[in-house]
C-alpha cells in the first residue's frame, strides 16, 4: 500500500486524513491481506506440486515397479518426494521390519498404523494455514466494517458542530472510512475462495491417499501371504 504514496496524492490524502483507529484498521487489513495472499500462493504451489507428485507416483506404482526400488528412491530423494511417496515409504519400511513368519495380522496392523501416522502428518502439512485463510475470510470484513463505522461516526460527530450541514461535510469522511471496508473485502473474498478451493483439493488428495493406503496394505498382505 506504500505505493499509493507515490502514485496518487488524493488517495494518499484520503488515507492519511483518516482517524488513527481507521488508519490502524487499514494497516491491520493490509498486513492480513498480504499474509493471506502469500498463503494463497504458497498453498496453490504446494497443492499443485502434491497433486503432480501423487499422479506420478500412482502412475509408477500401478505400472508394476519394484517396491524396493521405489522405497529406495523415496528415501534418497526425500526432500523432493510427495506425500503419497512418504506414506508408501513409511508403510513399506514398517512392513519390512517384521521378520518373515511373524503374525500376518499384527504385521498388517502395524503397517497400517505407520501409514496412518504419516498420512495424518501429511494431511496436517497440506491443511496448514487453510484455517488462517478461513479466519481472514470471515473476520476481515468485520474489521473493515469496524473501521468504516468508526470513520462514519467521526464524520457525523464533526457534522454536529456545523449549523449548515451539507453532504460535502460528511462525504470525504465516509469515503475514507469506506476504504477500510473495501480493504476488508479485498482481503476476505480471495481468502474465502482460496479456502474453499484448497479444502476441496486437500479432501480429494486425502481420499486418494486413503484409498492408496488400503490398496497398498492389500498388496503387502498378498505379498506376505504369497
Amino acid at each position: 500500500m506504500n505505493t499509493t504514496v507515490t502514485q496518487d496524492m488524493s488517495f494518499l490524502h484520503l488515507i492519511s486524513s483518516a482517524s488513527l483507529l481507521v488508519q490502524l484498521v487499514m494497516l491491520i487489513l493490509v498486513m492480513i491481506s498480504l499474509l493471506s495472499w502469500w498463503y494463497i500462493f504458497r498453498k496453490l504451489f504446494v497443492i499443485r506440486y502434491e497433486i503432480k507428485k501423487t499422479d506420478e507416483f500412482e502412475d509408477i506404482f500401478w505400472r508394476g515397479a519394484d517396491m524396493n526400488a521405489l522405497y529406495q528412491r523415496t528415501i534418497n530423494s526425500r526432500y523432493e518426494s510427495g506425500s503419497l511417496e512418504r506414506i508408501f515409504a513409511a508403510g513399506f519400511s514398517e512392513f519390512n521390519k517384521h521378520p518373515a513368519g511373524s503374525d500376518l495380522e499384527a504385521v498388517m496392523e502395524s503397517t497400517r498404523r505407520a501409514m496412518r501416522a504419516t498420512y495424518q502428518r501429511e494431511m496436517d502439512y497440506l491443511e496448514s494455514h487453510l484455517s488462517f485463510l478461513a479466519t481472514v475470510g470471515s473476520v476481515s470484513p468485520y474489521i473493515g466494517l469496524l473501521g468504516t463505522v468508526w470513520g462514519i461516526m467521526n464524520s457525523f460527530r464533526s457534522l454536529a458542530s456545523i449549523t449548515q450541514a451539507t453532504i460535502a461535510h460528511v462525504a470525504p469522511g465516509i469515503a475514507e472510512a469506506l476504504i477500510a471496508t473495501a480493504m476488508g473485502l479485498f482481503a476476505a473474498i480471495p481468502a474465502v475462495v482460496a479456502y474453499n478451493r484448497y479444502a476441496s483439493r486437500t479432501d480429494q488428495l486425502a481420499t486418494r491417499f486413503e484409498s492408496f493406503m488400503e490398496e497398498l496394505s492389500n498388496v503387502l498382505q498378498r505379498r506376505a501371504a504369497g
Binding site: 496518487d8 495472499w37 500462493f41 514398517e94 504419516t118
Partner: protein
C-alpha cells in the same frame, strides 16, 4: 532408521518466495486499480462562480484601448530619428567646394608679381642676384607659409562655422522633437481625458440602467406579491359560506402562518367581526382553501410567511 528420517524430513515447500512476490504483485495491482480505475476527485466540483460587478464590463475594454495608444506612440519617435540623418550629409558638401575654389585665385596673383622681377634684375652681379634670389625665395616661402596659415585659419573658421551650423540644426531638431513630444503628450492627455469622460458616462449610464432594472425588479416583485395576495384572498372568498343577513359590513381579520408550498400552519383570529358565525365561516374557508396559491419563486415566500387576511362581509 529410515522411518524416523521420513518422519523428521522437512517438507520442502516449493516456491514460497515466489508466492510472496506474487502476493505483493497482487496488492500492487489492486492499488493500481484503485488509483487509476477510480477517479479520485482532488477538489470538490466547482459550484456556481458569481462575479459581482461594481461596474459594467465596459471598463474592461478601456484598458485595452489605453494599451493600444502607447503602442501607436512608440513607432512615431522613430520617424524624427530617421529625418535628421538626411539633412546632416548636406552641409559638408558646400564647404569643400569653397576651400578648393578660393586658394587658386590668390596664389596666381602673388606668383605672377614675384616671378617676373628676377627676369629684369638678372644682368647685375650673380652673387647679388643669388642673394636676392635666396632672399626672394625665403620671402616667397614666408609668404607661402603665411598663405598656408591663412588657409588653415580659413579652414578652421569654416569648420567652426559648420560645427555651429550643425549645432544650430541639431538644436532646432531637438526643439522640434521636444515640441512633437509635447504635442503627443498633450494628445495622450486629451485622449485619456476623453476615455475618462467616456468611462464616467458609461458608469452613469450603467448605474441608471441598474437603477431602472432594480426598480423594475422591485415593481415586478411588488406586483407579484400583490397579485398572489389577491389570489389567496379570492380563493378564500370563494370557499366562504356566508351566514345570511348580517347587519352592516362586518370585517374580520385573521393572522395566517404559512408553510412553504402553501400549507397552513396556524390560523389566529386577530380581530373579530363581532359575529361568531362569520368568524368561524371565514376560518373554515381559510382551512378549506388549503394549498394557498404562492408565487413560484421561493425567495418571495418570506412575504407570505405571516399573512394578514382581512375579509369584508360585503365587497
Amino acid at each position: 532408521m529410515s522411518a524416523s528420517i521420513l518422519r523428521n524430513s522437512p517438507h520442502s515447500e516449493p516456491k514460497s518466495a515466489l508466492a510472496g512476490a506474487l502476493a505483493v504483485f497482487v496488492h500492487l495491482f489492486f492499488v493500481a486499480l484503485l488509483v487509476f480505475g477510480l477517479n479520485w476527485k482532488d477538489h470538490p466540483p466547482e459550484g456556481m462562480t458569481v462575479d459581482i460587478w461594481t461596474e459594467l464590463p465596459k471598463p474592461v475594454q478601456e484598458p485595452v484601448k489605453s494599451q493600444l495608444l502607447p503602442k501607436q506612440s512608440v513607432p512615431e519617435p522613430l520617424k524624427p530619428k530617421i529625418e535628421p540623418q538626411q539633412p546632416k550629409p548636406e552641409p559638408p558638401k558646400p564647404v569643400p567646394q569653397k576651400t578648393i575654389v578660393e586658394p587658386p585665385v590668390k596664389k596666381p596673383d602673388i606668383a605672377v608679381k614675384q616671378k617676373p622681377e628676377p627676369v629684369k634684375e638678372s644682368p647685375p652681379d650673380l652673387q647679388e642676384q643669388k642673394k636676392k634670389e635666396q632672399e626672394r625665395a625665403k620671402e616667397q616661402e614666408r609668404i607661402k607659409e603665411l598663405e598656408k596659415q591663412k588657409e588653415l585659419e580659413k579652414k578652421k573658421e569654416f569648420e567652426k562655422k559648420q560645427e555651429l551650423e550643425k549645432q544650430k540644426e541639431l538644436e532646432k531638431q531637438k526643439e522640434l522633437e521636444k515640441q512633437k513630444e509635447l504635442q503627443k503628450q498633450k494628445e495622450k492627455e486629451q485622449a485619456a481625458q476623453r476615455q475618462r469622460e467616456q468611462e464616467a458616462k458609461a458608469q452613469r449610464e450603467a448605474e441608471a440602467k441598474r437603477a431602472a432594472q432594480q426598480a423594475a425588479a422591485r415593481n415586478q416583485i411588488t406586483n407579484e406579491i400583490s397579485k398572489y395576495k389577491a389570489l389567496i384572498l379570492a380563493k378564500i372568498r370563494s370557499r366562504i359560506v356566508m351566514p345570511p343577513d348580517l347587519p352592516g359590513n362586518p370585517v374580520v381579520e385573521f393572522n395566517v402562518t404559512l408553510l412553504p408550498g402553501g400549507d397552513i400552519l396556524d390560523v389566529r383570529l386577530s380581530r373579530s367581526s363581532g359575529y361568531a358565525a362569520f368568524d368561524s365561516a371565514v376560518e373554515r374557508a381559510i382551512f378549506l382553501s388549503k394549498p394557498l396559491p404562492l408565487p413560484p419563486d421561493p425567495a418571495l415566500f418570506n412575504e407570505f410567511r405571516n399573512l394578514n387576511i382581512t375579509v369584508h362581509y360585503r365587497e
